[in-house]
């Protein structure tokens, strides 16, 4: 009789734990049948740091083991592993000696399984290989299919992980249904071509087939069917010449972001994506909707015509529903960040438009100076996935002297009040510490802002810089961006003149050490204290955000953006540490995805989660994130020469 009940029993146990749950029973039986069962009494050493890696990897069947690593202080506890956890396996470097000592903390039964077979299975099952790469490699390494993550969601991305990232069908649709016209053709001829209903838009082209404009079905209804323009008039009269062109090969997700960004329903596809190359197609949100459903372009349109805060609030709620839908569907986190910042950008723009109109109707005169509205904090970094209190600022040109200046200042104050009070019902509460443009401390002309940053950078301790760091993450979300550019240049000059500032900021970024490990239902912090919850914000996101900011400021990466993109850019400057920064980008992406999913599901800020409420693989992922944070902190300590900053 070939079937072995004993191997089946071991395979059954393994099947309950990742990555063995991704392996077929037949293969698990082979793996189990080649193994050993070992028993260790409490306090015994399973293997020692520096020993040659043996033939077997180990899975704890029952009991608890502690992992120690030698340090200047002796031995540091670096992890605790329990039932179902894997030990002694390093995927990237199978021949590297053991990197830690494993000692049993209780009587422990361990399954020893051959490393060679595990490796074969990692080749056979892509998901198992990915799992090993992520958690049993040198650090938090990107999964294979995310290795070529684009710099942002509008970049090149050929991965078919999700419909948002699928491009094939969208492309075909674009090229199969292309209709064109000449600008001097009469409207009725053009309308006739559109009439069969195969396409909702027709593109005007020149003799080189380069795009000149577009007519949509709605243009025909709005301009011709209403009698505003004659059907015999040349098509040029109703042609929209605001041309947004895209290159071929963009996936649905990228196209949706373009449409959201430009508040358009149609994009013209040209050979090289520019307006000076031949047209090859036209793609509409309706086509994408037909292919995939649940696309968000309607939001931009609806937001742009909403008349009050109540209407905006409903649309913003809808955006969260879509966000949860996309996040559960495993959409790329870069795309999600861009999506939600586009929605919030449209919302803010509409709130400002309505408020300006209101002020005008009340007789307020709008000052004739350039100004901009700044998003700070997580929104500044384009990573406010969950709605949180407003952190805003206003920056304007120097105001005129005398009454005109006072009137202008009053107008800005009133506008800030109006906009802020419109955003509040949309789920963006008022900041409890008043860090909003309504407060004169967070509003002002360029010279005043320059003075503020000068003070913060020159006297960081007196200025309590820890509370000001989110103000180094400013992003212009409305108005004249050049004002912020000027402020940034000044900020960099100040940083250059105060060489102590960056190390101090780096030092502060190290204040939130992640826990040592998570096991069973406990989270163990650096002092060995056990906690019941993982703090996604303090343990993972905040240290990563702070470190990314320090490097961005230190290397003068003068734009404020999504933390993973900051890490990727840092990696391009510090090439020797590129892998570490790629790892940090992935770690942050996972942390924000976890926090957002928790927050949207539970309707809270997603900050705390009990380990027992997470799937095993998610707990593994959190542990890997913590490890990456510690590795990053070790590098920060060394790079900025932070003496006396000791990490476990």
């Amino acid at each position: 009789m070939k079937t072995s009940s004993i191997s089946l029993r071991v395979a059954d146990f393994l099947k309950g734990h990742p990555p063995f749950d991704m392996i077929s029973e037949e293969d698990l039986l082979l793996l189990a049948g080649a193994g050993r069962v070992k028993f260790h009494e409490s306090g015994e050493i399973v293997y020692e740091e520096g020993d040659d890696r043996g033939r077997y990897a180990f899975v704890v069947q029952k009991g608890t083991v502690n992992l120690f690593r030698k340090s200047a202080r002796g031995e540091d506890l670096i992890d605790v592993r329990v039932e179902g956890d894997l030990l002694g396996f390093l995927f990237d470097s199978p021949d590297m000696p053991y990197r830690c000592t494993v000692k049993t903390a209780s009587d422990t039964i361990i399954y020893a399984i051959p490393q060679a077979i595990l490796r074969e299975l990692a080749e056979k099952y892509i998901t198992v290989g990915d799992y090993f790469r992520e958690y049993f490699g040198e650090g938090f390494t990107p999964r294979r299919h995310t290795a070529s993550s684009p710099e942002n969601a509008r970049g090149i991305d050929e991965r078919p992980a999700h419909w948002l990232q699928k491009s094939g069908p969208v492309n075909e649709r674009a090229s199969n249904r292309l209709l064109t016209y000449k600008m001097d053709e009469p409207i009725h001829m053009v309308a006739k071509r559109l009439a069969p209903g195969l396409q909702e838009a027709i593109v005007a082209v020149d003799h080189n087939f380069h795009p000149l404009g577009i007519i949509t079905e709605s243009d025909l209804s709005a301009r011709v069917a209403t009698g505003l323009t004659s059907v015999d008039a040349p098509a040029s009269e109703i042609t929209s010449t605001k041309l947004i062109t895209v290159r071929p090969g963009m996936n649905a997700g990228q196209l949706i972001l373009e449409m959201l960004h430009h508040r358009l329903h149609h994009l013209i596809v040209t050979e090289d994506g520019s307006t000076t190359s031949p047209v090859i197609g036209v793609i509409s949100d309706r086509s994408i909707q037909m292919l995939h459903g649940s696309i968000p372009t309607f939001l931009a349109k609806e937001i742009s015509v909403a008349e009050d805060a109540a209407a905006l609030a409903i649309l913003r709620d809808r955006a969260d529903e879509l966000l949860l839908h996309y996040i559960e569907g495993d959409a790329q986190v870069y795309w999600l960040a861009d999506f939600i910042s586009e929605v919030d950008g449209a919302l803010l723009q509409r709130a400002i438009e309505i408020s300006r109109r209101k002020l005008l109707s009340w007789g307020w005169i709008e000052p004739e100076v350039r100004w901009c509205w700044l998003a700070m904090h997580s929104e500044g970094r384009k990573e406010r996935m969950l709605r949180s209190p407003q952190r805003t600022a206003m920056l304007y040109e120097e105001l005129p002297e005398g009454d005109a200046g006072v009137a202008a200042e009053n107008w800005f104050k009133q506008l800030a009040n109006e906009v802020t009070s419109m955003l509040a019902p949309c789920g963006f509460d008022l900041d409890s510490e008043g860090r909003m443009a309504t407060n004169h401390e967070w509003r002002g002309p360029l010279s005043v802002w320059k003075g503020r940053f000068e003070q913060w950078i020159a006297h960081p301790i007196e200025s309590n810089i820890l509370r000001k760091t989110p103000y180094f993450d400013a992003r212009c979300v409305y108005g004249d961006e050049t004002l912020l550019d000027q402020l940034r240049i000044h900020m960099q000059e100040c940083i250059h003149q105060n060489p102590n500032f960056i190390p101090l900021l780096a030092n502060d970024a190290m204040d939130n050490l992640p826990p040592i490990t998570i096991f069973r239902d406990s989270v163990m912090d650096q002092s060995g204290t056990l906690w019941t919850s993982i703090d996604t914000k303090m343990h993972a996101m905040l240290p990563l955000v702070d470190i990314a900011r320090v490097f961005a400021l230190s290397l003068n990466l003068d734009d404020t953006t999504f933390t993973p993109i900051r890490f990727k850019r840092v990696g391009r400057h510090l090439v020797e540490q590129r892998d570490l920064f790629e790892e940090a980008a992935e770690a942050f992406s996972h942390a924000i995805r976890l926090q957002t999913r928790l927050g949207l599901r539970r309707g809270d800020d997603g900050q705390y989660v009990k380990p027992e409420d997470l799937p095993r693989i998610e707990v593994q992922r959190c542990k890997a994130i913590f490890k990456t944070v510690v590795r990053l902190m070790e590098f920060v300590s060394q790079y900025f020469n932070l003496e006396g900053k000791e990490l476990s």
């Binding site: 009789m1 009940s5 004993i6 191997s7 069962v37 029952k62």
Partner: protein, 245 residues
């Protein structure tokens, strides 16, 4: 295979005992076989084997790549079917002939030192079957995990209720070990925190016993029992005059 089994296997089996373990052999060097049989009844002379499950224990580890399992055809159902759950019809369909199963077992066992709970009965059944089928003397030595447990108890290895007592450190183990005298396989599972999966199947019981055995070996080592003779000693209850066996 001949009517009396595979001659090569039988011959090899006989030869392997020319040099085998002595009582002085250190425990670490012995090939133990944790074994269990399910039978049609409790009379070793009359009843026959239905299933055999066995797994090797060497140097304190259970060797999952060295195990044996057999389902054997048998004539008719008896009341034991309620314990092991295998019917004669099922065995007729999926099982092998007794001779083939025994030859396979002998080829696997070689001179392995058999370990089991109340193993004396199982050994008796196999012995009779081998005699009946092959005219062969079944020569494997054996030890009873129950005897070993009782010896260790008498050695005082379970008296200590402080934190160094082995059963207390074992997650899931019963804290009442030293007060309890339940030495059944289920009782030992509770005492040593071993999950009693697949109880009353030959392979399941062999695996459970192997897990208990590797724990007993550690305790035996601490009790100074490091040779085969010291761990395989039969246990005799102390008589009224205080002598022991």
């Amino acid at each position: 295979m001949s009517l009396f089994g595979d001659d090569d296997h039988i011959q090899a089996y006989r030869e392997v005992f020319e040099t085998t373990w002595s009582d002085d052999t250190p425990v670490n060097g012995v090939r133990f076989i944790s074994l269990d049989c399910e039978t049609t009844g409790l009379n070793p002379k009359k009843d026959s084997i239905i299933t055999i499950g066995a797994v090797t224990v060497e140097d304190g580890s259970i060797m999952l790549d060295d195990q044996y399992e057999a389902l054997i055809k048998f004539a008719y159902n008896t009341s034991s079917v309620v314990v092991h759950g295998i019917t004669a019809e099922e065995a007729a369909e999926n099982g092998m002939d007794e001779a083939e199963a025994l030859a396979g077992l002998l080829g696997y066992l070689k001179d392995g030192f058999i370990v089991g709970h109340h193993i004396g009965f199982d050994v008796e059944v196999i012995k009779h079957a081998c005699q009946r089928r092959f005219g062969l003397d079944f020569r494997n030595r054996w030890l009873d995990t129950m005897d070993l447990t009782l010896h260790l108890e008498r050695d005082g290895m379970f008296d200590d209720m402080d934190s160094s007592a082995p059963f207390q450190r074992t997650p899931g183990a019963s804290p009442d070990f030293s007060r309890s005298r339940d030495f059944s396989l289920d009782g030992l599972c509770r005492r040593f925190g071993v999950e009693p999966h697949d109880r009353h199947t030959a392979a399941g019981d062999a695996f459970i016993t192997a897990q208990i055995f590797i724990k007993l070996l550690r305790i035996a080592k601490r009790a100074g029992r490091t040779t085969l003779g010291q761990i395989s000693e039969r246990y005799v209850e102390a008589s009224d005059d205080g002598s022991s066996g």
